[in-house]
């Protein structure tokens, strides 16, 4: 194993005392007796009150770095060099008791899954209070402190929340409580590991707001790990871009995101669908190749194998640390040649939508029956899908997107009275009752390829079985079809002989897509097809999906919470809320506005990597319980443009407000356009106006943020 001898980057001219200083940290995991290097000389520092983001693909070592900073490493981790200084103390040299004291007083951590970070059997009150009793407070003071802590993280009605169990709270509330506990000791260092992954964009935005506010109050240093570059851009002052256990570029967040100075950073940023680019305009850039396997020996420049401007020099001479101004630096020999990396050329004349209708849904409802209550998940949905188009389906979790997809696929059967028509005939409710031709026509790409592919089967077996079952082909004809599918998805013969776990995430998803295409489907339902993948892999998959669509004229029903992905791939977009379609229209129309207030709120919540300043709409609370939907327009409880006296009384119909654009809102389109333009100009922050019938001073957020109890008549 080689221990890197690079000097840390030049220290700032006036040495400020830093809250966290990582110096040349090298770390290896011992696997079967062999140390496999994971960090190769990581150096950075975070000043008090500053937030520092680490970005990079999964497996690059960013989480290991974060966990090392609080000495929270698995047993087989071996620090092979360097120091981690928190407030001047070296964390790597502490004994167990010192580590305990250190974590108690100086550093805190917020984890990805707040549900797992809280004890499910203890009420919130004692859990938060415990964080204070540990610090030596008496029980009574600790309880008071807990109440204060909850107020600090902006939980409305904290007294009631203290009496609840974690599972009775929404994900956003749980994360607020984890943050409250983390801040109990007033730490110098707060480490956040993917704090908003798994939360809806609307909730994510409010959690990020909170972290920013609290950081300003406490002057803590924040170390943030996130795979979502938008989150990093929103929250961080400075970022470090990691690759294969090394920081390859560091600098001011805005500077790094706007003018990246390392080929890897540039590649990462370019693989994101940004600036409203669409599939018909151009392909997305990708970073060829994969992250090197953990423990392999790497050349002097760790990125060289995937770099398009690398030369032999990069393999033999350690790249210098080049100052890029404003305290930034990059590790690259050829910074001035970055201009040679160009984005893919524009596509022309690749429109696939033909106007023939393939799937027609009318009055599709789906009601689940849970412990004696009717929970409507879909309410009279009308939807058409045309040949060769992509229909994007967006909405918060719980809005009925997946139920709709499952109903189309025949996994869930719709309520009586619903009609699903494929081409000229109606579809049976259950997949099992559909003829093979219908099964062949509608296939699915799942979110998580690990779960969607049988781990005991080889890739070839997986494809061959689908081809056989859906097309009836056998023997040679079947094998030819398998080979054709594989080559369409750029899978090699070697890949076909491997089992899923031997394939990388991107290859697995390509295999899953190939399977969906086994019988030349008319419709492919893709449920979050790229959310389990890194951005560079995501770009490749999105390119592939649009290529396939051009070739085969397949229609896609794309479910995604990533609006960038939807915007890139979708021709039309349907926005769902509480099982109803609130708005549907051409992608550009919906994104550009004027759009439905809910769409407007969703769009404003997306953390943006381009750092645009927009108006903010704080969508408070969660989706109300579908079992007990609000009266009138179902969105009225959270709408920032609600018209009191109208919206909670009458449900607006879904009507065509302009050609091809349907919306369910009482406010006329022109008026919406005017209001939205005004808000954008003023960069307003909009919230739901208080409801007139709420006489208590409890904000609306409280009632709606709690997980709804079984339906009770509205107060």
């Amino acid at each position: 194993m080689t221990i890197e001898t690079t000097l840390p980057p030049p220290a700032p001219a006036a040495p400020v005392n830093s809250a966290l200083k990582v110096e040349n940290l090298s770390l290896a995991y011992v696997v079967r007796g062999i140390p496999r290097p994971v960090l190769r000389g990581v150096s950075f520092e975070v000043r008090p009150g500053e937030s520092y983001g680490l970005v990079g693909e999964s497996g690059c070592g960013k989480s290991t770095t974060a966990y090392a900073a609080v000495r929270y490493l698995p047993r087989n981790a071996l620090i092979t060099g360097g120091r981690i200084l928190v407030g001047g103390d070296d964390v790597t040299k502490m004994n167990d008791e010192q580590v305990r004291q250190f974590r108690m007083h100086h550093a805190s951590m917020v984890y990805q899954d707040p549900g797992a970070a809280l004890n499910p059997t203890t009420k919130i009150g004692p859990q938060v209070a415990e964080a204070f009793t540990v610090l030596g407070q008496s029980r009574r003071t600790a309880e008071e402190s807990a109440l204060k802590a909850l107020k600090r993280v902006q939980i409305a009605d904290p007294e009631r929340v203290l009496q609840r169990y974690p599972h009775q709270l929404s994900g956003g509330m749980q994360q607020r409580i984890v943050i409250a506990i983390a801040l109990a000791s007033d730490p110098k260092l707060l480490v956040l590991d993917e704090p908003t992954t798994g939360l809806d964009a609307t909730v994510e935005a409010s959690v990020l707001d909170l972290v920013r506010k609290l950081q300003a109050e406490t002057n803590a240093a924040v170390l943030l790990i996130a795979h979502n570059l938008g989150v990093i851009r929103t929250l961080c002052d400075r970022v470090g871009v990691m690759y294969a256990g090394k920081i390859v570029e560091e600098g001011n967040a805005a500077a790094v995101f706007e003018s990246p100075q390392h080929p890897y950073t540039l590649g990462l940023l370019r693989s994101l669908p940004r600036h409203g680019v669409r599939k018909s305009q151009r392909e997305l850039s990708t970073i060829p190749g994969n992250l090197p396997q953990i423990g392999t020996n790497l050349p002097t420049c760790v990125f060289v194998d995937r770099c398009q401007i690398a030369t032999d020099l990069c393999r033999t001479v350690e790249p210098p640390i080049v100052d890029t101004g404003r305290g930034g630096w990059t590790r690259c020999h050829y910074r001035e040649r970055l201009g040679e990396l160009v984005e893919p050329a524009a596509r022309v004349g690749q429109e696939t939508v033909s106007g023939e209708q393939t799937l027609a849904l009318s009055g599709v409802s789906k009601t689940f029956h849970q412990s004696g209550h009717d929970v409507p998940a879909l309410v009279k949905v009308d939807l058409n899908l045309y040949d060769g188009e992509t229909l994007g389906l967006v909405g918060e979790s719980g809005s009925g997107k997946s139920t709709l997809a499952k109903t189309i696929l025949g996994i869930e059967s719709p309520d009586a009275g619903s009609s699903l028509e494929l081409g000229d005939h109606s579809l049976a409710a259950q997949s099992a009752k559909r003829p093979t031709s219908d099964k062949r026509s509608i296939q699915m790409v799942f979110q998580n390829p690990d779960s969607a592919l049988n781990r005991g089967w080889t890739a070839r077996h997986i494809l061959a079985r689908s081809v056989h079952k859906l097309t009836g082909l056998k023997g040679k004809a079947m094998n030819e079809r398998v080979d054709k599918l594989a080559s369409d998805l750029r899978l090699t013969q070697r890949h076909l002989d491997l089992k899923p776990r031997q394939l990388s995430g991107g290859l697995k998803q390509r295999l899953a897509i190939a399977r969906a295409f086994a019988g030349n489907p008319q419709i492919v339902v893709a449920d979050e097809p790229t959310s389990a993948l890194d951005v560079s892999v995501q770009a490749a998959i999105l390119n592939l999906l649009s290529d396939l669509q051009i070739k085969s004229k397949t229609s896609y029903l794309l479910i995604s919470h990533d609006l960038g992905v939807v915007r890139y791939l979708a021709d039309r977009i349907a926005v769902m809320y509480l099982g109803r379609i609130m708005e549907i229209g051409a992608s550009e129309t919906v994104f550009h506005g004027p759009n439905h207030p809910y769409t407007e709120a969703l769009l404003s919540a997306v953390p943006n990597v381009d750092g645009e300043v927009r108006q903010r709409i704080l969508l408070e609370g969660d989706i109300p319980s579908p079992a007990n939907p609000p009266s009138g327009c179902v969105f009225n409880t959270r709408c920032h443009r609600v018209i009191r006296g109208l919206c909670e009384v009458t449900e607006p119909p879904l009507v065509e407000v302009e050609p091809g654009h349907l919306m369910s809102c009482h406010i006329p389109l022109e008026e919406l356009g005017r209001l939205q333009k005004l808000a954008a100009e003023r960069r307003e922050t909009l919230v739901t106006p208080p409801s007139p019938d709420t006489t208590t001073d409890v904000p609306a957020a409280v009632a709606s943020e709690e997980t709804p109890a079984p339906p009770s008549p509205p107060a």
């Binding site: 497996g59 290991t64 093979t436 296939q443 005991g456």
Partner: protein, 299 residues
């Protein structure tokens, strides 16, 4: 977290010849290699192999004829007889060496019966859920509530004791336990998306169960097999001790202990202790193997 999920041993070995079979053998070889690095597994195997060899070679390697009297009985361990002699003057060492014969035939067979029946039941219960699962689960739970030894004792007394009956009774008693393990493995498998994908292309229930799910629950099944084998040794020895298992004049350990333990009061410990140690060593050895298998297959 960016922890290196212990790189799958397979990932590093590129198949030299394409084809599922060579890859499968390679996978097995890798698993074996990992197993052989575990001292617990090696010790367990050595002990078991030792007992199997003595069982096969039997009288050919025993110092004396295990069924013949050589002295007045209860000679203490020492010069002539290394582990002493029993109440009829038979050599204890020789008897312990051949005492593994019956239990090593009966116990694995019982384990196999239990695991095969339990796996079938578990697969059906886990996959079809609904009424089938409800009815079968209640039956299984009712069965589990009965004390194993008591039921076995009663059945054997009624049916009369023969090795075949012992195998069947112990096997059936193990079935519900295995069924529950397999059922929970199937339950977690069936919610994976590949099952949905199979349904979407129109696969039948039995196909999904036997071809898609079963291979993926084979790991827990194999582990269950070894664990049950350990319990079977113990159960069969207990039944023999109670007089309803293996019948005299066999040198079976459980039987020997039951014949000799009353003499412990008069200070004659050796005819009881050594067969008892033999039982313990086999059960521990099997469990060492089972534990290693479990942790390796779960990796």
């Amino acid at each position: 977290m960016d922890l290196p999920a212990t790189p799958s041993p397979l990932a590093r070995v590129a198949p030299t010849t394409p084809g599922a079979t060579s890859e499968r053998t390679q996978a097995r070889r890798e698993t074996l290699k990992v197993l052989l690095r575990r001292p617990a597994f090696i010790i367990g195997c050595l002990v078991m192999i030792g007992w199997i060899i003595t069982a096969i070679l039997g009288q050919r390697i025993t110092p004396y004829d295990p069924f013949n009297s050589f002295s007045g009985g209860h000679l203490p361990p020492g010069s002539g007889h290394l582990l002493g002699t029993d109440r009829l003057g038979r050599d204890v060492l020789s008897r312990v060496m051949v005492g593994s014969r019956d239990v090593l035939v009966v116990a694995p067979l019982a384990a196999i019966v239990g695991v095969v029946a339990g796996t079938l039941l578990g697969l059906v219960m886990g996959f079809y859920r609904g009424l089938i699962d409800d009815v079968l689960s209640r039956l299984v739970e009712a069965f589990l509530a009965l004390p194993v030894i008591l039921v076995a004792l009663l059945t054997l007394v009624v049916l009369g004791s023969s090795p075949l009956v012992v195998v069947c009774v112990v096997g059936i008693l193990f079935t519900p336990i295995v069924a529950r393990t397999v059922r929970s493995a199937v339950l977690s498998e069936r919610q994976l998306d590949y099952v949905t994908a199979a349904k979407l292309r129109g696969e039948s229930g039995p196909f999904i169960l036997t071809r898609e799910i079963f291979p993926n629950v084979l790991g827990p099944t194999v582990v269950e097999m070894t664990v049950r084998f350990g319990y079977a040794i113990f159960t069969v020895a207990t039944l023999s001790f109670l007089g309803v298992g293996i019948q005299p004049p066999s040198a079976d350990w459980g039987l020997t202990v039951s014949e000799e333990y009353t003499n412990m009061i008069s200070g004659v410990w050796w005819p009881t202790l050594f067969p008892a140690l033999a039982i313990a060593s086999t059960v521990v050895a099997v469990n060492l193997i089972a534990d290693s298998l479990q942790s390796v297959l779960n990796e």
